[in-house]
């Protein structure tokens, strides 16, 4: 830490849970703010001031005059500019010690996983349901904490969704309302997103410092008119398509449909997949040539014990948390018993940026039928 930083963050150093070690932790943290509007403005300001080392900002909008009533990142000169670039310029004046990555694009099912995967924590400061369901699903797929807030007129709500450890946005709202006005239609008191965005920043800093969030399994609702904060308890919904039986999908292909918020079945159909396959014979040849690739087995440990091809075992349900164990430089061949799980795993790995991923067509069953030779087998298939 430089002398300038020591002076800048001096008010943090005597705080319990923070201190110099905590400040270094903040500096190592990477937080992504999706939406740089009413919620994102205060959240980004405080995260930047606190010394979070890397702040990502994703937004495809440009600054408009009607934004200035609440979006405190911007001023009159920014009108017409991309929000991400105007925000970056403003924030770097506040704290030039941090990295700010502007993503001036719309979050879609195609870029969500590749953008989000580089960050530790996500703040949802968007203004529409499609984006909120997309962020929720992407964070569940990647195992990233999602700090959610929404506002309406004089009210706001906030919750923290921790994948694999608590409910998600779909547990709370299984479907969006058929009609729901946004801020431009219904209006919003400017300080309401200010308060809610600041609460999002508070929870983000706590998570970055390794503390628990107070809003996991809770929904905080704020009403500015009677100045009340109400807390509700939320458990994982047994009917939630994401949380009900572990993770039931591993990509965002269901967001391709027109009704982006609606869950449809995941793409595990080999006939519609664009993932390349490799035949058992071709795999055998690669093995004999000692080619440099990773054979990834995404079955369960019990299946692996029965018979295996000496591949690296990461069960599909753990892949979102353990994909860091795989070397991105190497090509990856995924297999399961047949094709279902390996295709989901391969599509997931492709979406988060693995350049060469193939799956073993027919899985270990096809290998047993076509090659027969199985070095690690204790029980016949």
């Amino acid at each position: 830490m430089t002398p300038e930083e020591t002076q800048r963050y001096s008010r943090h150093f005597s705080l319990p849970h923070l201190g110099v070690a905590g400040q270094k932790r903040l500096k190592r943290s990477k937080i992504l703010c999706i939406g740089a509007g009413g919620l994102g403005s205060p959240a980004l300001h405080y995260l930047c001031a606190a010394g979070v080392g890397t702040l990502g900002i994703i937004d495809h909008d440009r600054v408009e005059l009607s934004n200035l009533q609440r979006q405190i990142l911007y001023n009159v000169k920014d009108i017409g500019q991309l929000k991400t670039l105007a925000a970056k310029s403003r924030l770097l004046k506040q704290n030039p010690n941090i990295d700010i990555i502007a993503h001036p694009e719309k979050l879609t099912e195609k870029n969500a996983l590749s953008i989000i995967q580089d960050y530790d924590i996500v703040l949802d400061g968007t203004d529409n349901f499609n984006a909120r369901y997309l962020i929720n699903d992407a964070c569940c797929v990647l195992g990233k904490p999602n700090i959610y807030a929404g506002v309406f007129q004089f009210s706001g709500e906030c919750s923290v969704f921790m994948p694999n450890n608590g409910p998600c946005y779909r547990c709370l709202y299984d479907t969006p309302p058929s009609i729901s006005p946004n801020c431009s239609e219904a209006g919003v008191l400017g300080v309401v997103p200010g308060i809610m965005g600041t609460i999002q920043a508070t929870e983000a800093l706590k998570l970055a410092l390794g503390q628990c969030s107070s809003l996991v399994g809770k929904v905080l609702r704020f009403n500015a008119l009677n100045l009340t904060f109400e807390t509700f308890t939320l458990s994982a919904n047994p009917d939630c398509p994401l949380c009900s039986n572990g993770q039931s999908f591993y990509d965002l292909s269901h967001h391709h449909s027109q009704e982006l918020c609606t869950m449809t079945s995941l793409n595990n159909d080999a006939s519609t997949s664009t993932i390349e396959y490799i035949t058992p014979q071709a795999l055998k040849t690669l093995m004999e040539q000692n080619s440099d690739f990773i054979l990834l087995d995404v079955r369960e440990p019990e299946e692996y014990e029965e018979c295996n091809l000496a591949g690296l075992l990461i069960p599909l349900r753990e892949l979102n948390l353990r994909h860091h164990e795989l070397d991105k430089e190497k090509s990856i061949i995924v297999h399961c018993r047949m094709d279902g799980r390996s295709l989901q795993a391969a599509e997931f790995l492709c979406q988060i940026g693995f350049p060469t991923v193939k799956y073993l067509k027919g899985g270990i069953v096809a290998w047993a039928q076509e090659i027969g030779d199985m070095p690690n087998i204790s029980i016949p298939l």
Partner: protein
């Protein structure tokens, strides 16, 4: 008579109702909202089996999409 608090307004029910019956009575027939009984959210699949009694607090929570 059973007195409950529905969306922070006092409401009299002639008898105990299931949450599903109460919602229909109050005009909430579509999806797109969540319901909390005594500050705890209730999964939609249990609306027909949750009984609302004297003194209960029921809140229909509509998501806020603004940001």
């Amino acid at each position: 008579m059973q007195i409950i608090l529905f969306n922070n307004v006092s409401l009299s029910m002639e008898r105990e109702l299931t949450l599903a019956e109460l919602l229909v009575q109050q005009g909430y027939e579509e999806n797109g909202f969540a319901v909390a009984v005594n500050q705890t959210f209730v999964p939609r699949s249990t609306y027909a089996s949750v009984c609302i009694r004297e003194g209960d607090k029921v809140d229909v929570i509509v998501p806020m999409q603004g940001g």
